[in-house]
Symmetry: C2
Subunit: 357 residues, 2 copies
């Protein structure tokens, strides 16, 4: 019986629709397990720029710091994507949040629900049993280094940077997780070309000595992008830098059938933030067809990691599993070969999850 | 009836084995079409370091400049991969060659031979008909910017850089190619975070005005990594920066069934260099099992692009096709479900290709 304060930060596009469903699931869990969850909301991204001119208003940041966990949606808007010279951008809010809250470790579990074997573009016999936990470093790399223009704007530059300390702390989190799993860790870098990757590899090699029970391999990012599709089952825990993690985890979403199924946890020095790995998806915003399961599974991660509520978290995952077993699907995970699938919208599939709770 | 001088640069690992087969195919083409091809060899990579201390000796570079085209193998050695602090590395030879020869455009055609539909981990119904031409920028980005350490070696940095000029010249090549194909161009960047990507997107938007007949889309690199697997047929020409191209083309090798099938052409200011996209693969070096088809198809690209020999190039591709149709496979592209496949080693499958020429 716990009392917790949860901040809902829907952000842009379908972020609104999916976090609304995630919140309902948290509510139901509180009722069922006798917890008291209180809520507040805060702005970020394009909606925050529209309302305040700032992609992450101080008020939002304060609320985040004071809450026990954040359920996050997505940020982004096509307006800025088509205007590369825009000075204020939704993504700045996201990056500032990560930096200010010290969210240096982004966990992205990739696990296929058996029922979705057919939904992936990868062959079922390659996928079956794949279970990968990504640790993406989230507050360093080319995302946060100095960037700008020179030569009258004719040359652009970005500086990628990593310190030993930054690599060490994410490495430890990944090694600890590997210990509780199949005891395999794959560190991904581009040490044959990039200096930050060479530092990365040195530090992983050093930290590895403290975990002799974990089997370590080093892979180049290009080879990893290939191996993830060729043989996803060879991976257990994967640890990598911010940019490589961004690319590889989106790619790996195909192992889980659809991007619409993937949750992530960003943790570090303070409040944890839980969010789908999908983006704001303005092409389907407001149509009521977005898949809320990633937001629901993000709520499950929140319960587990920030609140230590294992049973509650498992109840959510099992409810999602039952909804899939019952044949309910959103459009993105429906299998054309299975006419028995009942295609539901965002809210309706959320209601089915609630029923199984 | 032409007279051409071709430099064979095998490099490391299986580079030796596969270029030897590629050369035999060039020889046969010369005989069949009445051309005179003369050859020389040069060192690069680990073998060059062992022989001279230098990953790209001046002599090799001179020979490259003087030849009409280079058939290249691969560079790399596990020794350096396990020692991130090594000062002299095989890859420096490759990067120096690209820079010195002005090889700013790396073309990587991804096309599945029908016979290999079953060899991929991706479902045949997703793959069938996929045909992508990647243009990877090859002499800029984080590969060539300043890199180093600071804070007593505790912090590493790499600078990514692009000038308008560099983006423009590769953009033009990609747009020209799109015109001869399905007239679609996808430019891949990370403009929501990275300044070099914002410059990239600006320049593509500007050059696009000169090609109103080509339909342009901009995708983020993370989304592209996902879309390539989910729906490879949506892509025609893809143009992207050096690092993103490195990652995405290795990933896309799965669309072609295997990395062992993919050829590439590096072109720019002078001599063109043709090489498989696979690496030195020390785990199978010397075993005689490496797939030489990527080197053979690189020879086909060489004939087409550097020598303008279309019929000769097509003869090579058609011979590879016939070998596959006859059921011959190397290990990496054999389909476990098809017992009729005859598995051959490097030289033996090369001989089959020669027979069909
Ligand atoms: C929106 C964007 C800045 C962000 C990132 O690149 O980190 C997103 O792709 C993600 O993975 O959370
Ligand atoms: C060997 C390595 C430096 C090289 C690269 O990253 O460019 C390779 O992966 C390639 O794609 O040609």
């Amino acid at each position: 019986m716990a009392s917790k304060h949860i901040l809902i930060v829907p952000g842009d596009g379908i972020g609104q629709e999916v976090t609304a469903v995630g919140k309902k699931v948290l509510d139901k869990i509180a009722a069922k397990f006798g917890h008291t969850f209180s809520y507040d909301e805060a702005l970020i991204g394009h909606v925050a720029i529209e309302a305040t001119g700032n992609p992450l208003p101080d008020e939002s940041l304060e609320k985040m710091r004071k809450s026990d966990a954040v359920l996050f949606g997505a940020v982004g808007h096509p307006k800025y994507d088509n205007d590369p010279s825009a000075k204020v951008r939704p993504e700045q809010g996201l990056l500032k949040m990560r930096k200010e809250l010290g969210l240096y470790a982004n966990l992205r579990p990739i696990k296929l629900f058996d029922e979705l074997l057919g939904a992936s573009s990868i062959k079922p016999e390659i996928l079956k049993g794949a279970d990968i936990l990504f640790f993406r470093e989230l507050t360093g790399d080319i995302y946060f280094g100095e960037k700008g223009r020179k030569n009258n704007g004719d040359t652009a530059y970005d500086i990628a940077e990593y310190s030993r300390f930054e690599v060490e702390r994410i490495a430890r989190k990944a090694f600890e997780a590997a210990r509780t799993r199949r005891k395999k860790l794959c560190s991904v870098d581009k040490a044959n070309v990039i200096e930050t990757s060479r530092l990365w590899r040195e530090v992983i090699q050093k930290v590895a000595k403290e975990y002799p029970d974990v089997e370590v391999e080093h892979q180049f990012v290009d080879a990893t992008a290939m191996l993830l599709i060729k043989d996803p089952r060879r991976f257990d825990v994967v640890v990598t830098a911010n940019l490589f993690g961004d690319i590889l985890t989106d790619e790996a979403s195909q192992i889980a059938g659809s991007m619409g199924m993937l949750a992530s946890a960003s943790i570090g020095d303070g409040t944890g933030v839980y969010e789908p790995i999908h983006g704001s998806a303005h092409d389907i915003t407001g149509k009521g067809v977005a898949n809320p399961l990633a937001s629901i599974l993000s709520a499950a991660l929140l319960l587990d990691i920030s609140f230590g509520m294992k049973a509650e978290s498992e109840a959510v995952i099992s409810a999602v599993d039952k909804v899939l077993k019952a044949g309910f699907r959103t459009r993105d995970i429906a299998d054309a070969q299975t006419p028995a699938h009942k295609i539901l919208g965002t809210e309706a599939i959320g209601e089915e999850v609630l029923k199984f709770l």
